[in-house]
Structures are given as structure tokens and as C-alpha cells.
Symmetry: C2
Amino acid sequence: MSATLADIGEDALVRLITRHLRQDADVLLGPGDDCAVVRPPPAKHEQVLKTDTLVEGVHFTPTTPPRLIGRKALARVLSDFAAMAATPRHALVTLIAPPTTPVARVRAIYQGLSRLARDFGVCVVGGETSRGSQLILSVSMSGHVKTGKWITRSAARPGDVLYVTGRLGGSLRGWHLRFHPLVKEAAAIAQHLRPTAMMDLSDGLARDLPRLAASCGLGLEWWPEKIPLNPGCTLHQALHDGEDYQLLLALPPSLRTERLAQVQGLFPRLRFFPIGCLLPRPSKAPAPRGGWDHFGRSP
Amino acid sequence: MSATLADIGEDALVRLITRHLRQDADVLLGPGDDCAVVRPPPAKHEQVLKTDTLVEGVHFTPTTPPRLIGRKALARVLSDFAAMAATPRHALVTLIAPPTTPVARVRAIYQGLSRLARDFGVCVVGGETSRGSQLILSVSMSGHVKTGKWITRSAARPGDVLYVTGRLGGSLRGWHLRFHPLVKEAAAIAQHLRPTAMMDLSDGLARDLPRLAASCGLGLEWWPEKIPLNPGCTLHQALHDGEDYQLLLALPPSLRTERLAQVQGLFPRLRFFPIGCLLPRPSKAPAPRGGWDHFGRSP
């Protein structure tokens, strides 16, 4: 029988988790003390903060490969940093798990998370463990962005055209566990295209598209026939499945398409699909409805 | 019947939570976007990060007043900042709750948390909500400390005397929900006494005292008869109850006691009780055992 968290206890668990974490020169005090201490953002940068949580039975199942649970927990936060065109740097990771959880499962979760962290230059500098009735993995990230250069959801103007950066729908076939957070792509988009608004698509276009328009205090015109579908997916799936982790961005209508092509050329898999535009004022025009609600009853 | 989270849905919940949060001039972008953006630490300061989690059935019960749940979630992290002599500034708050949770309970949790945040100059700049099978409240904090001035657990020297800042034991009678995080006290201690090591007592002296010695790579001599007990408490309780949220600190034996008196004079309820000292090398000498283990079986 394989060892459980109850068998090894909290101190051994923490040693197991923290042993293989790699730190870099910006980490002045890593895991094992009351707090972590890291170097502040570079000059002329602001600090960026975000947290996100995965709950068993909501964001993954008992049969999800544990490495991919760890990967996903971090990847979702990286996707939020991408949406701001910000650089993620230092993560805190919280694990809540039943005492009956196999140690091997926890080890694999942290391996998946650490691997992706390394790929994106992120250090896990601390965290927390507690027992609980279901497995939960929560990641808080601190990073930075150049002063005045972050992209909000809310500064688009009437007439701006809305784009998505890839095909949508069908994320449950595996994409929601294996998606590539568009951190570098977003930095290039911010630098070369200067979007007026940007967000990542996590709750489904049906929910996120009206959210972006509402954040801008604008109305929305969307072009259902132009929404790019993943192979085998319906429009309904593209609107409602969620977890696409593509970027939704607004660009001025005056932007020349060769500029889009230039950025696409930097990243082979990056595309810009126009799917609608913003209208002068909030309207009751038909907007896609539905998407993912953590607490609400089914529509 | 009172409204539940399922009745109002996620977007309304987030509006409810974020409506009353106060921001200050250091918050450039608060809740509602993909990430928060805040001003970096002041010049010649480093960044400090910490996260902590409360789980229903572990850290509080279904009958715990919800304002005190929110208060405690933040107060624990503040206590960790105190242990580093650091200044807490920006919090991310994650709520996981069953859809059947009354809205009024969640509102009260955030009221308790916000109130304490205001008292300590902390802004809640973002967070996350998800459904789950039990109520969980997790707080991640970012703050700062002057370069080179933070106090770790690990730099004490042989002969240093160990002190606790208040009486121990019996926290379950209410102290664990109402304790005052020693942020200002710790700043004064760091400035005037320069402890060689410091930590906050959350898991019980029996567990935290050997931890501090082990962090320093030193042995431990402790003086059971000198451990200050809360009224009506036994030594066993002082060692094992946990959640005292007093500071445990190491001071050089050469420190003059009038210096202690000077700092005590700044804070009427602050005391310095000597409870042991550090020995040249790790020993098998009898150290208090036990304390709180989140995953381990009962001793």
C-alpha cells in the first residue's frame, strides 16, 4: 500500500514539496521561514498580483493525472498575467488535501507545477498545507509590468475591433490541462499592437465577451459566423465550454492588418480572429449568454 | 429563507465582496481585472510574500461567528509578517464555499476581514471564488521590509536567550479568533533589540521551539517552569494548544534588560519571558514534543 499524507505528517510533506524547488538570485529568502523575501520589481515597473484556485470536482477530477493538476494550477495564473501583458515571477502554492491522499499524488502535482514554473522563469517561494475534505490547489503570483504598460479590460473605445488569438471550444478534450499560457505572445502583442483592452478567456466567450464590453462601459456587436471553432466543435461549445485560455483583445479599427501579420510571424501558432466590435453605448442587443458560473444554478 | 450563493451566482457574489473594499494611492488597479497592479515597495526595501489558509472543521467550526473567521484569516498572515518584522500591504483573498452557503455569512466574513485590513493599512486588491464541499478562506499577502532588516528563524547563535512575548495556552477559549497581530510590536523589537531569530507561535511551543532551534542548526535548552501560562492553563496546554500568535525570539545574552524594559514601555501588553536558550549543537536532549500536525495521526 502506498504512503499517505497521514503516514508521513506535515513536516515531512513540506520537506518533500520544497526539496526540489529551484530559486534564483531574486529570491532572498525562500520556503521554510515565516515569509518569503524577494527582490522588488525592476526600476520603472509596478507590481502585479493574482491568485487562482483549482478544486477537485470543479476544475479537475479524481482521475486527472496529478502532474497536469499541478501544471494547470500554475498555467491559469500565468494566463492571467498574459492578459495584463505582465511578467510572472514569484509564486506561493497552497495545498489542501484529505489525509488519505497518497504522497505520490502530491509529489506528482508539485512536479507538474515546478516544471511549468521553470519553463516560465517562475520561482515557488512559499506556500501552505492543510487537511481538508477535497483536494484543492491554489496559486498566488507576484510579478511585474512596466509602468503604464499594462493592459486592462476596460479602456477599449467604441469601434474597436475584438479579436481572439486562437480557436475555441472543446477544452474538456484535454486542452484545459495542457494549454500553453500566452505570456510571451501577450508581451509581443502589447509591444507591437497596443491593445486598448485585453483579457484571457477562461469562463467561455459567452460570459467573457459581455464582461469585457461591460468593463469598458460599451455595447457589443458580435459576429457568430466568424468565431473560430476547434475541429469538431459547435458554436455553442465555443461560446459555453470555457477554459480556452486564448486572449480576447480590442484593437483600434485603424490598425493595419500587416501589423497583425507581423506579430503572428513571431509565434507560429498565434492567430488573430476578428469576432466583433464595440459599440458606443451599452445596449440590449443580443449578446451571447451562459458560460460558467461557479455558484449559480444551470441556465 | 435567506439567500444562498447559488441564488445570486458568482458575478453578484464578486460584486458583493468587492463593493466595500477600500483602496489607497498605492493600488493602481484593484479587483475586477485579470490581475491587480500596485506600486512596488519603497526604495531600499525588499518584497515580502506569505499565504495562509483557514479550513472549516480544522481552523474554525460551522458555529464560529463569520466576522471572526474573516478576521482570523487575515490576522494569521499579519502575524507571519510580524515574525519577519515586515510591513503587510496588499492582500488577495480566496473564498471556497458550498453553493448552499448563506450570502449573509459570506458578507460577514469579508466585513471581519476588511475591518482588520483597514486597522493595519492593508488593501484587499483581488481574489478568487469557487464552489467546494467545505468553507475555506485563503489570504495571500504582499508587503515589504527594509533591505537587510528582516528577521529570519535561522540566524540565532549558541547562548542566545529565547523569549516569548506573552502568556501561552488556552487559545481555543477565544484568543485564536481575537488575537492582536504583533506587527507594530515586532517592528519596535527589530529596531531596538535586533533579535537574531524570530517566529510567531502558531502550532504550539512544543512544535515551534524545536523548529526554531533546528532552523538555526543549534541545540535547545528550555526551562519548563519559566513558560508563562495563561490563567487556568497547564504547562501541557501552553506547549500543545497552539494558536498563541505570540512571538518567539532569540536575543544575545549580552543584551541589557533595560533595553527590554524600554520596548515593553512602548506597548502596555507586551512582555518578554525568557524560556530557554540555544546550545552549540543539535542534541538529543529532551525537547518538548507534540503540537499541531495537519496530516499526522494523534500522538
